[in-house]
């Protein structure tokens, strides 16, 4: 896997949500994503930061192909180097997603093995031996054994479920993973486990991550490049160290100023 290879490119993505009255008349139009361009590189993490409603999650869903853009395009470079847009019915296996809520993101009525096999069946894998070996491989990559595969989701803790969610994305051998706030619902002591896991998987498999988050400390630790979203637009984009050292846009500055402090001596809000 050559590093620095662009695996996904978004050009001028725009998504407008239209609210209609019961009679079908357009009541309101909201531009959730406005002319967003970004590119993801193999082995690198691009963090998309912003507050709720800034359009960062919608951008993630546009890149994944869960929703279609009003304008603009998403180009995924396939493993053989050919470029695919949504129009050419690209294979979903290249781009997988990890979700925020580890509880509702696993089907409560299915065993772990069958949840993971489902990812492979969707992309047309039927051979039972291949299914078994690929699921085992993905489970061991996130630190689980065959014994865990026979259990139901409710038998696992939040952090363990999140690792199962990662295995579900990995099992399809993707090249890009869209991580939508993957640690913000987890306990502090578990977050570090998941972040370390994501980083070691990236190093081993050369994955490109789009990391959607509102947590600037996580960004600082994990991301190579950062895009700051505000009201549907990317207002600033820079390499991580550069962004933290030298924020340009007012909103970025405000965001950095609001990051929780790490010692009471840094207090600005109250008397000491």
């Amino acid at each position: 896997m050559t590093l620095e290879q662009t695996v996904l490119e978004a050009r001028n993505l725009t998504k407008t949500f239209v609210t209609r009255s019961p009679m079908g008349r357009t009541v309101a139009e909201t531009k959730a994503v406005d002319q967003v361009s970004l590119s993801l590189t193999a082995g690198r993490t691009y963090a998309l930061v912003g507050e709720s409603g800034s359009g960062k999650s919608t951008t993630g869903r546009l890149l994944q192909g869960l929703i279609t853009p009003t304008a603009g395009e998403v180009i995924v470079s396939a493993a053989d180097g050919s470029k695919l847009t949504q129009n050419t019915k690209r294979s979903n296996r290249d781009v997988q997603m990890i979700f925020q809520d580890p509880y509702s993101s696993l089907n409560p009525r299915r065993r772990i093995r069958s949840i993971l096999e489902e990812s492979l069946r969707i992309i047309g894998e039927k051979d039972p031996t291949t299914l078994r070996s690929k699921v085992d491989e993905a489970l061991s990559a996130v630190g689980f054994s065959d014994e865990h595969a026979q259990r139901y989701p409710h038998e696992f803790s939040g952090g363990q479920r999140q690792r199962i969610g990662i295995a579900r994305a990995l099992v399809a051998s993707p090249r890009i993973i869209i991580c939508d706030e993957p640690v913000s619902a987890l306990d502090v002591s578990i977050q570090a486990q998941i972040l370390n896991l994501l980083r070691s998987l990236q190093a081993d498999l050369g994955l490109a991550y789009l990391f959607i988050t509102h947590d600037m400390s996580v960004v600082r630790y994990l991301a190579h490049r950062v895009g700051v979203m505000h009201q549907g637009k990317i207002v600033e984009e820079a390499d991580t160290a550069e962004l933290f050292a030298n924020p340009q846009h007012d909103y970025t500055k405000r965001l950095l100023a609001s990051v929780p402090i790490h010692h009471p001596s840094q207090r600005t809000t109250a008397k000491g």
Partner: protein, 295 residues
Amino acid sequence: MTDTMTVGSLNRLNKTYSRRSMFLRRFGAHKLAMTGGIVLAIVVAVAILGPVFAGDPLTLNPSQRLAPPSLDHPFGTDNYGRDTFARAVAGARVSLLVGAVTALITSVLGAIVGLFAAYNRIADTILMRISDGLMAFPAILLAIAIMAAMGQQTSNVIIALSIVFTPYVARIVRSAALVAKEQTYVEALRSQGASLFRILWINIFPNVLSPLIVQATFVFADSIITEAALSFLGAGVPPPAPSWGNMLLDGKTLIYSAWWMTVFPGAFIMSTILAVNLLGDGLRDLLDPTFNRRK
């Protein structure tokens, strides 16, 4: 790291029981559901074994007309001298058959309609307006109208009742599926490119099964009552075939002279419906994962 994880989950493992044995344990502890289940099992056993010990429900015996309960005829005889016990047992067969087959048909149709309605807005509008239309009629009137159009036959009773009750099942399935559909795992499946069939039937369906089973037991009870009412009004199972409704109709004019003709089939209807409803209420409690977590 992995070692401690495994220890943690093994501890958890020892604490959890398999779903099935857990369900049976809780079912045994739920007194009402247990009572309902036992009574229903007795009625079913009587219906199945009826021909072995009860006489023929159609044999006329004019010399024994309107005989009160005795050792020969424990429930007495009717105005044609037919054995009321044999007729009540045979009637159980008809009622349970109508109830069970209707519950089965409405469950299948209701699941299909409900799931598609939950997933497709246009299908939802069309299917739910049709079901609104059907639900606007009182169940019994609609059933009478359908019977009048199709003719008096036991199979038509089942068809009529299925048409009447499918909308109720479909609504329950639809609302359960709408909840399931909003879960992130459905979004995960969509993001991986899963087909509609795969999402609906392989992934959402298991999550609507519990409310579907509960609703099916209520349809079972309702169809037994409605069948009895239809037969009582002369629009159900055609005489001389025994059915609890027919027996009530026969006994109506003689209620003061031959009480046994009405009381026994009435008691059968009441205990069966009560049993099924207790079972249904119990299942609703037991299949609801949020119920009983804290006693």
